[in-house]
């Protein structure tokens, strides 16, 4: 795993050198590694487990807000990544140690299944509920870098709500396991408990009802959000 961590740090450093790191929000399981090792969150996340997958997920919340122009595929090529073109035109990146996916927010039902991020020369897969992570992100200090990650409260709520859309049982279980673990860490902290509540209360009623059902199934007291 140390090889993957080194490569992960190299990717972030190379993106930072190209002034492009600021355009992304790190989402997915590698957030857990950053929470645990960031100056801002390591005080509460020290005991949290970090079951990371071999895929790094980078979110571009809104392609129209991208300011920097950079040849991201060229940076990845230098890091020995190779393109993986899917049938629908989506391009993922991978090498022997890690994969890297670009994601964006799914806006409306009629949206295409691949969104071109012209300024970065990459395309991204639009996914539902990414706005939870994109709208509630925070800059943290990690490995001498500044990186955008979702507020842990947003990370937890996103995990809970996406779990119900996972077709695979194992993925669902993994989402719930991670969400529950982080939820129980966060409610011990006054600020984080408030953030959980605020983010939850900002959701549309439908999402709140879905989450309440998931909370009930997983023994989480919905009063924490009222």
């Amino acid at each position: 795993m140390s090889k993957q961590i080194k490569l992960f740090n190299n990717i972030l450093t190379e993106f930072d050198n190209a002034n492009v790191l600021v355009e992304f929000v790190l989402v997915g399981s590698w957030c857990q590694h950053v929470y645990k090792n960031s100056n801002e969150y390591n005080y509460i996340m020290q005991q949290a487990s970090t079951l990371t997958t071999m895929d790094i997920d980078l979110l571009v919340p809104d392609k129209n807000k991208v300011k920097t122009e950079a040849d991201v595929p060229e940076i990845l090529k230098r890091l020995d990544f190779i393109e993986d073109r899917k049938i629908n035109g989506l391009i993922k990146y991978g090498n022997a140690d890690l994969g890297l996916d670009f994601l964006t927010e799914l806006k409306g039902k009629a949206q295409k299944d691949v969104i071109e991020i012209e300024k970065l020369k990459v395309n991204a897969e639009p996914l539902r509920f990414m706005d939870i992570l994109g709208d509630n992100n925070i800059k943290v200090h990690f490995d001498n870098l500044e990186i955008n990650i979702p507020e842990p409260a947003a990370f937890v709520l996103n995990k809970f709500i996406t779990s119900q859309r996972r077709p695979k049982k194992e993925k669902r279980e993994k989402d719930i396991r991670t969400a529950k673990e982080y939820y129980y860490i966060l409610i011990k902290d006054e600020n984080e408990r408030k953030k959980l509540k605020d983010i939850f209360n900002g959701f549309p009623k439908g999402w709140q009802n879905t989450l309440k059902k998931i909370f009930l199934e997983n023994g989480i007291d919905k009063k924490d959000f009222e």
Partner: protein
């Protein structure tokens, strides 16, 4: 445990794709090695490759020409991809062992 197994299975699938992509990419590059031959006091670059049982030698240009330099860097790139492919295959085998 099923969660861990699922992560390993996913990684195995990911590596399968990576291996296929490396193999396809390598096919875009010329096969063989670059050799310099001295002919009448001058050095010339050739690509030497195997085609079935035959060894084929193809002239590229004078040793210091742009064609030879370009070919040299192309061959280096291919060799780098071959090393990465080898590593991906090793990781795939490891993932297979874990998955069992």
């Amino acid at each position: 445990m099923s969660v861990l197994k699922h992560i390993v299975d996913e990684e195995r699938d990911r590596l399968k794709n990576v291996i296929r992509n490396y193999q396809n990419k390598i096919k875009e590059y010329p096969k063989g090695s670059l050799v310099n031959k001295k002919i009448r006091g001058q050095f010339y670059g050739y690509i030497v490759s195997r085609q079935g049982k035959k060894i084929v030698t193809k002239y590229i240009g004078k040793k210091d020409s742009d064609d030879v330099k370009n070919m040299e860097s192309t061959i280096q790139e291919r060799k780098k991809l071959e090393r990465q492919l080898k590593e991906a295959k090793m990781n795939y085998k490891e993932a297979e062992r874990f998955a069992r």
